[in-house]
C-alpha cells in the first residue's frame, strides 16, 4: 500500500466578489456575484511509505489546499484521494490516529497551559496510556532541549519555541505520515536547522513519511529526495531532487578571478552573468558548450582562482516557477 495516492484531484473555491464602495457592498448583499478559483486542478501523484517529499510552488499555487484535502479538512471538488488506504473526508477520525499535521501559520496549543500539560492533553486525546506519553515527552525533551521552557505557559514562548512545541504536539501519537505546511516560516537559522535534523531523524528512525511544503530552499534541499512542484493548481514537475539539481537546467556557473581585465562577449551556450573588474561569472549551458570551452574562453594563463558550481537550487526553482506561470 502506498502512503498517499491522489488521482485527478481538484478543488474549486467559490468566493463572493464585491465592487468597490458602499454601492458595491449593497449590491453584493442583494445580488451576490461569485468568482470561481481553481485552486487545485486535476493533480495526480503517489507517495511511497518512508519518503520525504517536498511539495513546493509559488504563493497561491495550491499547496495548502492540497494538504487540507489530504488531511480531510477540505472536501475535494472532484478526484480521488487515498491516504494509507483511507479516504480522508469519509473517515476523518480513523485517519486522525495515523497522521500528524503542522500548520506553520495556525495554532493548536492551549496558550495558558505549559507545553508539558499540552503534550499530556494531546496524548490523552489519542488514547495513549499516560506512561507512554510521559516517555515520549521525555524523549522529545532531550532532542529539542525543551528543558528551558517546558514548564512555561505557551503564551510566554517565542515563535520558535512555540513552533517546536506545535511539532511535538502533532507527533505525540507517532503518526505514520506527518504533513508539514511551512513549518519553518519566520524562524531563525538555528531553530530551522534543529527542526530539519529532527525531521530527518524521525524519518530515519521511525520511518515516518514526510509531506512538506516550504518556501525555504534550505528545508527542501537538506531534507527531501523528491520534489513535486505545483503552479496554478497544476503539477509542473515531479522528479528526484538529484535530477532537479544536476540535470534539470544542465547549467554550470563558472566564477573566475583574473590577473588582467579581459573583454568577453556572450557566445552561444556561454553567457556572462557578471563582469566586474577582475572578476567574472559565466553560466555555461552544458547542452551546447563544455566547461573546458568556458575555461579556454577565459584564457587559462590569466586565471588566479576559479570556482565551478551548479546553478543554485533557488535559481532553478524560481526559473521553473517563471516558466510555468502560464
Amino acid at each position: 500500500m502506498k502512503a498517499i495516492e491522489v488521482k485527478k484531484l481538484s478543488k474549486t473555491f467559490k468566493s463572493k466578489t464585491k465592487e468597490k464602495g458602499l454601492k458595491g457592498s449593497i449590491k453584493a448583499i442583494f445580488k451576490p456575484k461569485y468568482q470561481e478559483k481553481k485552486a487545485v486542478n486535476k493533480i495526480s501523484f503517489e507517495v511511497e511509505k518512508g519518503e520525504i517529499l517536498a511539495f513546493i510552488g509559488p504563493n497561491g499555487a495550491g499547496k495548502s489546499t492540497t494538504i487540507k484535502m489530504l488531511t480531510g479538512i477540505l472536501f475535494p471538488t472532484s478526484g480521488e484521494i487515498s491516504v494509507l488506504g483511507i479516504n480522508p473526508h469519509k473517515e476523518r477520525k480513523k485517519l486522525a490516529y495515523k497522521i500528524g499535521t503542522v500548520f506553520g501559520q495556525k495554532e493548536q496549543l492551549w496558550i495558558h497551559l505549559t507545553p508539558y500539560d499540552n503534550f499530556k492533553f494531546f496524548g490523552a486525546i489519542y488514547d495513549i496510556p499516560e506512561k507512554i506519553v510521559e516517555r515520549r515527552i521525555e524523549e522529545y525533551k532531550q532532542i529539542f532541549e525543551l528543558d528551558e521552557f517546558i514548564n512555561t505557559p505557551v503564551r510566554g514562548l517565542s515563535l520558535g519555541q512555540r513552533m517546536i512545541c506545535e511539532i511535538v504536539a502533532s507527533l505525540i501519537h507517532e503518526p505514520d505520515i506527518l504533513f508539514l505546511d511551512e513549518p519553518t516560516i519566520g524562524l531563525d537559522p538555528v531553530i530551522k536547522e534543529k527542526i530539519r535534523v529532527f525531521i530527518k531523524r524521525l524519518n530515519k528512525e521511525k520511518k515516518t513519511t514526510i509531506f512538506l511544503t516550504s518556501h525555504d530552499v534550505g528545508d527542501i534541499e537538506k531534507l527531501c529526495k523528491r520534489v513535486i512542484i505545483v503552479n496554478n493548481g497544476h503539477i509542473v514537475l515531479d522528479d528526484s531532487m538529484e535530477n532537479l539539481k544536476y540535470h534539470y537546467l544542465n547549467k554550470k556557473i563558472v566564477e573566475a578571478k583574473m590577473n588582467t581585465k579581459i573583454n568577453l562577449d556572450d557566445v552561444d551556450g556561454i553567457s556572462i552573468l557578471k563582469d566586474k573588474d577582475y572578476n567574472l561569472k559565466l553560466e555555461v549551458d552544458l547542452t551546447k558548450k563544455s566547461i573546458s570551452d568556458a575555461i579556454k574562453l577565459l584564457d587559462p594563463d590569466k586565471i588566479i582562482d576559479i570556482n565551478i558550481s551548479n546553478t543554485p537550487l533557488e535559481t532553478i526553482i524560481s526559473n521553473i516557477y517563471k516558466e510555468t506561470k502560464e
Partner: protein
C-alpha cells in the same frame, strides 16, 4: 468518553489560571442585582401584595436565581472561542483530531463554567439572604431536585450558544445573534417571570427554551414543587435532544463547506 473527560480536566486547569478575571465580573453582577432589587422594592412599595402570585421575596429570589444561570454560563468558550476558531482557520487543527469538535467544545464549556457558576451562586445566595431573607419552603429536597435542573439549564445555554457560534461558517460575525439571544432571555426569562406576560407570550415562553433555561429552574427553587420538577426536567431533555440534533446537522453542513482561510 475518557478523552472528553480529559478535555474537561485540561480546561479546568486552564480556567483556574484566569479565574481572577471573574472577580471583576462579580462587581458588575452585584451592582446590576442591587439596582433590580431596589426596583422591585419600589414597585411593591413596602406592602405585602402579591404581583401575579409572587411576593416581593419570591420575586427577588426569582431574579437572582435566573441571573445565576445567565451570568454563570457566560463562558467565552461557547461564544468567542468557537467563532474565532472558525474564522481564523484554526478549526483546521480541530478537524484533524480524533474527537468530535462539538462534543469537545461542550465538555470544555462545562469545565470552564464550573468555577464561575459556583462563584455566582455564592454571591447571589448571599445577596438573596441579605435583601430578601431565606425562602421558607426551601428544604433539602428542593436542593436535590435543583441540582440536575440547574446543570441542564447551564448545558442548554452553552449548547445554544455553540449552535449560534457555528453560524460563523456562513456569516461574518455571530456576535449580534448572541446579543439578541441574551436580550430575549433577559427580558422574557430573567427580569420577569412568565406569569407577568399576556397569555400568548406566556404560551410561547412555556414552549421555548426560555422555560428550561430560566423560568423553570428559578421557579422550581421558589415553589419547591415536585410536579414542576418533572415538567421542567422533561422539557429540558426535549430541548437538549433538539439542540443536539441541530448542532450535529449545522456542524456537518458547515464542515462540508468549510473554506479554511489563509495559509
Amino acid at each position: 468518553m475518557k478523552k472528553y473527560l480529559n478535555v474537561a480536566k485540561t480546561t479546568f486547569n486552564d480556567s483556574i489560571q484566569y479565574a481572577t478575571s471573574i472577580i471583576f465580573r462579580i462587581g458588575g453582577f452585584t451592582i446590576t442585582m442591587l439596582i433590580l432589587i431596589s426596583l422591585w422594592n419600589f414597585i411593591y412599595s413596602g406592602n405585602d401584595n402579591l404581583i401575579n402570585g409572587y411576593s416581593l421575596k419570591e420575586m427577588i429570589w426569582y431574579l437572582l436565581l435566573a441571573e445565576i444561570i445567565t451570568f454563570g454560563s457566560g463562558s467565552k468558550v461557547a461564544t468567542n472561542e468557537v467563532k474565532n476558531c472558525i474564522k481564523s482557520g484554526n478549526i483546521a487543527y480541530q478537524v484533524t483530531k480524533p474527537y468530535s469538535y462539538p462534543i469537545y467544545v461542550i465538555f470544555k464549556f462545562i469545565a470552564d463554567t464550573f468555577i464561575r457558576f459556583i462563584i455566582f451562586l455564592l454571591v447571589a445566595t448571599t445577596l438573596g439572604l441579605i435583601f430578601a431573607g431565606p425562602l421558607e419552603t426551601f428544604n433539602i429536597q428542593t436542593l436535590i431536585i435543583s441540582i440536575p435542573v440547574f446543570f441542564l439549564a447551564v448545558l442548554i445555554t452553552g449548547m445554544t450558544r455553540i449552535l449560534i457560534s457555528l453560524s460563523s461558517f456562513w456569516v461574518e460575525d455571530s456576535t449580534p445573534f448572541q446579543n439578541v439571544y441574551s436580550k430575549i432571555i433577559l427580558i422574557f426569562g430573567v427580569f420577569f417571570p412568565m406569569e407577568m406576560f399576556p397569555s400568548i407570550i406566556r404560551t410561547i415562553v412555556r414552549f421555548s427554551p426560555i422555560y428550561g433555561v430560566s423560568y423553570g429552574p428559578a421557579k422550581l427553587v421558589i415553589s419547591s414543587s415536585f410536579t414542576l420538577f418533572k415538567e421542567v426536567i422533561l422539557s429540558q431533555i426535549i430541548i437538549i435532544i433538539v439542540i443536539s440534533i441541530l448542532i450535529s446537522i449545522v456542524y456537518r453542513k458547515g464542515a462540508r463547506k468549510l473554506n479554511v482561510n489563509g495559509g
